[in-house]
Each structure stands twice: as structure tokens, then as C-alpha cells.
């Protein structure tokens, strides 16, 4: 008998790891870069400072993990939002491909951008 292995445990593992990472880090990231700096509440660091920051290997690893795990968390949760919330069950396979495919494209993009930091 052929045994088929399910991908679900891995996807749930990525979902919870990404849930922790995004819950811990996203509020402060968004508050600083998307609200406080554009509104002038806080003095933003110069672009040279940010470049010097992302030149550090540790910061690049941090940003990669931040993007990779958050994307797979978001993809998994969005898949079930469509499934339970909007009851789009007949498009299941297409939705899976778009959600996890999108997360994969984002992860590869993050790796590429961080790899070629001058």
C-alpha cells in the first residue's frame, strides 16, 4: 500500500512560528517605519544608517526570517479565511497554489534582495 505523507504538519508549524515572529516584531516595525517616521513624530535614521545596518549579516538573517516566516503564517491563515470565512471551497487547489506560491515568491525575493546588498 502506498503511503502518502501530508504537508499539513509542516504548514501548521510554519504558521505558528510565523505567528510568533509577526506578533513580536510587526507592531514596532510598522509603528516606526509606516506611522511615526512618515508623520514626523520621530526623527528617522538616515538612509546611509539603514544601509549600514542591513549590511550586517545578522540584520540580514533577521530580515530574512522576519519575511519568510511571516509570509507563510499569513498565507496559511489567509487560506483558511477564504475557506471558512467566504466558504470558497470549490477553488481549494487554486487558492493553495496562490497562497503558498505567493509566500514562496516573497521569500525568494527577500533572499535575493538581501543577498545582493552592496
Amino acid at each position: 500500500m502506498k503511503r502518502t505523507r501530508s504537508n499539513e504538519p509542516l504548514l501548521w508549524l510554519l504558521f505558528s512560528a510565523g505567528g510568533v515572529v509577526s506578533a513580536m516584531l510587526m507592531p514596532v516595525h510598522l509603528f516606526l517605519f509606516a506611522v511615526a517616521f512618515p508623520l514626523g513624530w520621530l526623527d528617522p535614521p538616515s538612509d546611509e544608517t539603514l544601509l549600514a545596518l542591513i549590511r550586517q549579516p545578522l540584520v540580514r538573517v533577521y530580515l530574512f526570517v522576519f519575511c519568510f516566516l511571516s509570509l507563510f503564517h499569513g498565507a496559511h491563515r489567509f487560506r483558511f479565511t477564504l475557506y471558512d470565512g467566504l466558504q470558497i471551497k470549490h477553488l481549494n487547489e487554486l487558492i493553495n497554489v496562490l497562497c503558498y506560491g505567493g509566500a514562496l515568491v516573497g521569500t525568494v525575493t527577500a533572499a535575493y534582495l538581501l543577498w545582493r546588498v552592496p
Binding site: 509577526s22 507592531p27 517616521f37 512618515p38 489567509f78 483558511f80
Partner: protein, 135 residues
Amino acid sequence: MINPTEYLPKSYHRRVSTYWWLARRPYLKFILREASSVFVGWTVLLTLLQIWAVTRGPSANAAFHEWMRHPLMLGVNVIAFLFVLFHAVTWFSLTPKAMVIRVKGQRVPDWAISGPTYAVWVLVSLGVAWVVLRG
């Protein structure tokens, strides 16, 4: 192949409205929590764009900053911030439900698990802010 269910009585399924989550407040809270996934994806997209701009040089940086100051972007980003905050609070308050710890046969109370989690959250946030702001 013959579909076996054709010969079985069909079970009765009550049709649930597509908008079932509007019926009760806890349902709405559930769907809003799930909708935070969209804003988690949005935050990663912003991060990737900023990494791209920072490595690209002054003109890309200027364009990125101007775009972030646009009123429409500010509106979207304030909403995104509230959603990720909601995700964080619901995630940390669920931690004691997902992680049951027993000491001497007694279940450790919820606050003893969620309390330290919130403390770590505050420390991590301050740490990130310090690295970004110290200049």
C-alpha cells in the same frame, strides 16, 4: 467509476450564509483576527520595498519616503498597524491555551504564561526601536 454516494441518501446540509461572521460579535472578532493575515503580507511587502530602496540609492529612497507620506498610504498603514496589533494581542492571549504547563499536577494559571510573553514582547519591541533609532 461509479460514485458510491449516488446510492446513499444525501445528508442534510443547511446552507450557511456567506456573511455568517456578521451575525455575532465573537464571529466578527474571529474573522477580523483572520483578516490580519492580509496586513501581515502587506507589512512584508513594505519591508521588501524599503530594502530595495535603501540598496538602490538616493532617488529610490526619496521616492519611497514620498510614497510613505501620501495620505492614502498613511491611512492604509494606520489600519495595518491596528490589525497587526490585534494579531499580536490575540496571539499572546491564546498562548496559555496552546501551551498548558503543569507544576506538581497543578495547571499553571493563564496569566503566569501570558504575562511573561507580553513582557518579552515589550522588551523585543524596545530592542528593535533602539537598534533603529540609535543612529
